[in-house]
């Protein structure tokens, strides 16, 4: 469907396509410029396929100088620009514009340097997340953030979205695992941010660049932090006959002073889908399971195992099963890792939400989601990073049934509002993109949104980088009708929002 680009966020220009193509051809090879419908088709959406726009022009530059020239041209003419990596994003952050240039970064796919002594790798933005870990595995090192799309997603996109993964609670998000960025501003200026030391002078611009969804600059090089491979890991599955008890158990594990490497939860709908899909050995009658992975030195793992096992039972688990060897461990994880495609098999379409909430609210929020699911008549499967309170409710719907997607969107919107109300956020790791841009108006005050706009302007004076994503115009918010939220209290919280 057509994405909700607000008229106030649309950048108009009068440049004719052939004119720009002629200028691009002066420095880009012919096959690096795409402008015909069939060539543009693969770029019309990212992994949030519900929203599609045919791009105006796509370029695939191979040098930094070429990107700089594209940016300077567009900056001079006032043409909007969107950068794209592998297109695996889940919030429409790389959705193209019908009057803008899409810069594909796929040709920047080289690992430039590995510095084992300083525990870092310097890579181009088009290198995939997993490729880094694979490259340094023989040195006993790895790159920690592991979004589920790690086989395909690129590091440039990871930085732009501040990607997370299963092991964030212990090993951090992208923002904790990068050291230095080279970016190009919209004006084409190359800026080096951060250093290969532990800190550098001046503002921590790495912080605002990470997760800025392509709105502040184009990432052309990333220095990532490497960590020593963890020598030992063990996973166990705790089975619950009640979702709320499982939710409370999550808070109980953390309260006991444990930081599991992963603490994942699945509800019955997700368990059944996963079990049917890949036979991971999950109990299909369980109302919820928790997968708890502990890692460290062999000594630490043994010690923690002795603590966690009885703890989970005392927190209400009916049974706790420990994966006794690597094969069993892989099998236990397989169901969780395949949960999204598994749900994709039981429903024609699903809509994945990404709110994060305080852990102690897990039980109550899961109950509310069940209520909303009933209200809208759409099933919701819950499979998520429980340890850090990052929910991924999957709303099941059928895009071919008229009105079903609207219903799914409204249900999703209610879940986002609920996340804000309990002191959480609308997005933990997938980003705002086009998908949750309206909800930014609920989560942030007018003054805070204004501050975001001022930051944006500091990097991109004309507002040409990825407009209509991440940061709503104030006009959009005025129309959305929820300008100020105080202490998480929604004004008119009973009103239907869309």
């Amino acid at each position: 469907m057509i994405p909700p680009i607000h008229p106030a966020e649309r950048i108009s220009h009068r440049v004719k396509k052939p004119e720009l193509l002629a200028e691009l051809r002066t420095f880009l090879p012919g096959d690096a410029i795409l402008f015909e419908q069939e060539m543009l088709k693969p770029y019309e959406c990212d992994a949030l396929a519900a929203y599609q726009t045919m791009p105006w022009i796509v370029v695939l530059p191979e040098t930094v100088e070429a990107i700089q020239r594209v940016l300077r041209l567009c900056n001079d003419y006032g043409i909007p620009v969107v950068a794209r990596g592998a297109g695996t994003g889940l919030s429409g952050g790389a959705l193209p514009l019908d009057n803008g240039v899409l810069i594909s970064m796929v040709k920047f796919n080289k690992i430039l340097a590995i510095d084992c002594d300083n525990l870092l790798a310097v890579v181009e933005p088009g290198v995939t997340n997993l490729a880094i870990s694979k490259k340094v595995a023989k040195e006993g090192l790895y790159y920690a953030p592991d979004p589920s799309s790690q086989i395909a997603c690129t590091i440039g996109g990871n930085v732009a979205e501040n990607a997370g993964g299963v092991h964030c609670l212990k090993y951090g998000l992208t923002t904790h695992n990068i050291l230095r960025l080279k970016i190009l501003t919209m004006a084409g200026e190359l800026v080096v941010i951060g250093s290969h030391g532990f800190d550098s002078e001046g503002y921590d611009l790495l912080a605002i660049l990470t997760g800025s969804e392509g709105m502040l600059g184009i990432i052309i090089e990333v220095s990532v932090k490497l960590l020593p491979l963890v020598p030992s890991a063990q996973v166990m599955m705790a089975v619950f006959d009640c979702v709320e008890i499982a939710g409370k158990a999550v808070a109980g594990v953390i309260a006991a002073g444990l930081i599991p490497a992963g603490l994942e939860m699945m509800d019955n709908t997700a368990i059944c889908a996963a079990e049917e899909f890949c036979h991971a050995g999950y109990p299909i009658t369980a109302k919820a399971i928790l997968l708890c992975e502990i890692d460290g030195t062999a000594e630490q793992v043994t010690e923690q195992l002795e603590q966690v096992y009885p703890l989970l039972l005392s927190l209400g688990a009916q049974t706790v099963e420990i994966a006794h060897d690597e094969l069993a461990r892989q099998k236990m994880w397989a169901g969780r890792k395949a949960a999204f495609p598994a749900v994709g098999r039981i429903s024609p379409d699903y809509y994945c939400m990404d709110g994060t909430i305080p852990r102690h609210q897990l039980a109550a929020v899961l109950k509310s989601i069940a209520g909303l699911s009933e209200k809208y008549g759409l099933p919701v499967a819950n499979v998520f990073h429980a340890g850090d309170g990052n929910l991924h409710p999957l709303i099941l719907y059928d895009g071919n049934v008229p009105g079903d997607f609207d219903k799914a969107e409204r249900l999703g919107s209610d879940i986002l509002s609920l996340s804000i109300r309990v002191g959480g956020t609308i997005t933990g790791e997938h980003g705002v993109g086009v998908e949750k841009i309206n909800h930014m108006c609920i989560q942030f005050s007018l003054a805070t949104l204004n501050q975001f706009h001022a930051i944006k302007a500091a990097f991109d004076e004309k507002g040409l980088l990825n407009p209509g994503k991440g940061l709503p115009s104030l006009r959009r918010c005025a129309e959305f009708g929820a300008l100020h939220v105080h202490h998480g209290e929604l004004p008119h919280k009973d009103l239907e929002r869309f």
């Binding site: 501040n162 250093s195 030391g197 309260a255 990052n390 002191g423 990097f459």
Partner: protein, 350 residues
């Protein structure tokens, strides 16, 4: 005065400064003014020390939210009661240190290479910007990618972007017991051994080198650590149980810091070899943070740091202000300036 009245008062002071075109120096516990030697002492002070109190702390959430004027001592004690800690081990530099100052100064202690810096633990904050507006960023949850991550930007911003009112920090369980290995070896070997220690998964939480001794703080077993080290360079090993050393190190109370001369803080990639500037050196952060007492010319220190992709900063000195600052590449300097203007267009906060 109640807390909301205090906020209104801060806002008023900011708006007054705007009208009078004066500049403001934000002060919490007044323990870290020495970090900004180039700020004239005569500026109007915006005192935020009275804005204190822990707003929310639930150990199972691993999050503590407190007002900026809250004393670091109180925060540390509150966390210790629950077996938790601020894992970045911030230096206080005085009894009256406040949370706001800790975040604004962005300084972290010996655990930093293994646990992360202040900015890594900031989850959310409330600030007043240069327009006198109260703004809220981030939140109290571990993962949050809605809006630019301004909370982390505040760490190390030294009060130049706005008044920090309230901060939410991620906290961690404190290790039950930590010990320190003192291993005698020359510095050239120590730098190599520090790399080896970081390249292996060990329960290490600090590595420093001074005066012929490599010090390694660890919890659990020392066997794994010793097996990683090259025994041929070790002349002596002993284990000490006291944590006093690391506390004294982060507070700059070990003997090294008491000697005379300018103190430089040099941040370099940790495996950087010995820098050829004469003087006394102290190595923290497994080689990534180097303290130098020297009489060498300023240009020599900046030059040595820059040559290895690092930065140097004169930290304590009896020199007259203004102190020299390392040059920042022009595109970055321009960007820093524009970011500053985005928060504080009238340049009130210095």
């Amino acid at each position: 005065m109640c807390t909301s009245e205090l906020v209104s008062q801060f806002q008023e002071e900011i708006l007054n400064a705007q009208l009078e075109k004066s500049r403001l120096q934000i002060v919490g516990g007044d323990t870290k003014a020495f970090l900004k030697p180039n700020v004239p002492a005569s500026l109007t002070r915006l005192e935020i020390g009275g804005y204190q109190g822990i707003v929310d702390y639930q150990p199972s959430e691993l999050v503590l939210t407190a007002r900026a004027g809250t004393s670091l001592t109180i925060i540390n004690e509150t966390l210790a009661e629950q077996g938790q800690m601020l894992a970045f081990e911030p230096p206080a530099f005085g009894r009256s240190a406040t949370l706001g100052g800790i975040v604004a100064s962005g300084l972290s202690g010996p655990r930093r290479p293994f646990a992360g810096a202040v900015r890594d633990f900031v989850l959310g904050c409330k600030i007043i910007n240069g327009q006198g507006e109260v703004l809220t960023f981030g939140g109290q949850v571990m993962k949050n990618v809605a809006g630019y991550d301004v909370s982390r930007l505040m760490a190390g911003s030294e009060g130049t972007l706005g008044v920090i009112l309230e901060v939410s920090l991620k906290v961690l369980p404190a290790p039950k017991k930590e010990l320190t290995l003192n291993i005698a070896m020359p510095i050239e070997s120590a730098l190599v051994q520090m790399v080896a220690l970081r390249r292996h998964y060990l329960s290490i939480s600090a590595v420093a080198y001074e005066n012929g001794f490599l010090r390694v703080r660890y919890s659990g077993s020392k066997t794994g650590i010793l097996s990683v080290l090259d025994t041929s360079v070790i002349t002596d090993v002993d284990v000490e149980s006291s944590q006093n050393y690391w506390h004294a190190l982060k507070e700059q109370q070990v003997d090294f810091f008491h000697t005379k001369g300018d103190l430089w803080r040099i941040s370099v990639p940790p495996a950087t070899p010995v820098l050829s500037v004469p003087g006394h050196w102290f190595y923290d952060w497994a080689g990534g943070l180097r303290w130098l007492k020297t009489a060498a010319p300023v240009a020599a220190v900046f030059g040595a740091a820059t040559a290895h992709g690092g930065t140097a900063r004169l930290f304590r000195s009896s020199q007259q202000a203004p102190w020299p600052r390392q040059e920042v590449a022009l595109p970055l300097a321009r960007l820093n300036k524009r970011v500053k203007a985005a928060f504080d267009p009238s340049e009130l906060f210095v």
